[in-house]
Amino acid sequence: MDFLAASAGPIAEALGTTILLAVAAGIGSIVLGTLITAARISPVPVLRWAAFGYVQFFVNVPLLVLLVLAVFALPDAGFLLPLTPTAIIVLTLYEAAYVAEAVRSGVNTVGKGEIEASRALGFTLGQTLRVLVIPQSLRAAIQPIGNVMIALTMNTALAAAVGVVELTSAANKLNLVEAQPILIFTAAGLIYMALALAIGLTAGRLEKKLRIRR
């Protein structure tokens, strides 16, 4: 057990990277996913098709493939970014597709009469989306979005495969030295569990607080 305490510094640093990946890509994917949903329900056919194509692409390609492509192919094409920002961008693009699907499930809960009322008040379509449809959809989709955020946190572990030193990567490195796989990966797993639990509890609390009483 002593070696775990001795390597607390590097593990804490790696945990910090995991949290950075999850929080940055989490915020990014919620913003991007919401915009994709707005495009998906807009009256402009080009936007609707583009949003549909985006979701289909990212839902149907494995995250690991995307990460490997971004890390090894993009530099060849002349885009050079440090590893961690690259991973954040790929995670954001990938999870945004799932957030978009979650938010879209909330769109159906928006009252038809309320949309009619906003039109009768003189709202343009964009204003109706921004003031009424998107806010109500997000409120209805808090729990599913929370689940996407938990999946995102687990998916940050894939960044280890392309060389980002996050929690799984640090655990792996420690195991190479100490050869205590059960202990080390159980500890890493417990940390992931704690993160997932925190996200789930936050989502539950937010949902209770922002629930729409009808």
Binding site: G111, G113, E114, E116, A117, S118, R119, A120, L121, G122, F123, T124, Q127, V131, L132, P135, Q136, R139, L210, I212, R213, R214
Partner: protein, 256 residues
């Protein structure tokens, strides 16, 4: 904020003019040869059996429903097609729905202040101050920070009236405003509508409340099967209805 019937462009011309309007829902012909003019300050109550087309006519006036043929002009301007111009016109025509349709995720105060702020670009502080005044006027200022779901039906409908008034409309449309209310809440809503009428607001009210029609209307329009069958004063309509259909309708409604 009472007489928002602003200095009229053409004081003599009617505010609403409906000419030869037809409306179909698929094969169903719901509005037939509708001709109608509404003067400024006039209170027009539309009555008739359900399915007679009265709600549809009301909803056509701000183009929530599109018409098949004919023309509708508001203040001399033909109803524009969907888009910016239509949004601008709707901003000047208030509408109150049977099912209130308040924005469920915003407070009552926000419900009233939102449209002036977003649509008319009134500064938020001013929009809120005006919203408070309107809520006082309809008697629910104490509910300003509550959410729609926490209010009774009558209170919600009064908030919805305040929300429509916040845009300072030149015309108000009421589409069966009391039909979804428990009986004991009908009068609090009708009182607000009556006080608006007394202030000179031009309005079209679709309703089943015959007492209100008699008290508040300048004109009663009786519709049946998609047509305007009677267009007359309330006294004339209730005491001397000319058509058999109107008399049959009244005898059914007033019998109990």
């Amino acid at each position: 904020m009472t007489s928002s019937t602003s200095p009229a462009q053409h004081p003599a011309s009617p505010l609403v003019s409906v000419a030869q309007v037809q409306k179909h829902f698929g094969a169903h012909h719901v509005l037939k040869d509708i001709d109608l003019e509404i003067a400024r300050g006039e209170v027009v109550v539309i009555v008739g059996p359900s399915g007679s087309g009265k709600s549809t006519l009301c909803r056509c006036l701000n183009r929530l429903e599109t018409i098949t043929s004919g023309t509708i002009t508001i203040d001399g301007v033909p109803l524009p097609a969907e888009g910016r111009a239509l949004a601008d016109l709707r901003a000047e025509v208030g509408m109150v729905f049977q099912s209130f349709n308040l924005f469920a995720h915003r407070t009552i105060l926000d419900n009233v202040a939102l449209a002036p702020h977003i649509v008319s670009k009134v500064p938020l502080k001013q929009a809120r101050a005006e919203a408070v005044a309107l809520l006082e006027r309809v008697g629910i200022a104490d509910k300003a920070e509550r959410f729609p779901g926490e209010l009774s039906g009558g209170q919600q409908q009064r908030a919805a009236i305040a929300r429509a008034l916040a845009m300072k409309p030149k015309l108000m449309l009421f589409d069966e405003p009391t039909s979804a209310l428990d009986p004991e809440m009908v009068s609090e809503v009708l009182d607000v509508i009556t006080s608006l009428a007394d202030d000179g607001m031009t309005m079209v009210v679709v309703t089943h409340e015959m007492g209100f029609a008699r008290r508040a209307a300048d004109r009663v329009i009786f519709m049946d099967d998609g047509r305007v069958v009677e267009d007359t004063t309330p006294d004339e309509f209730f005491d001397n209805a000319r058509s058999d259909r109107a008399r049959a309708f009244l005898s059914k409604i007033l019998a109990h």
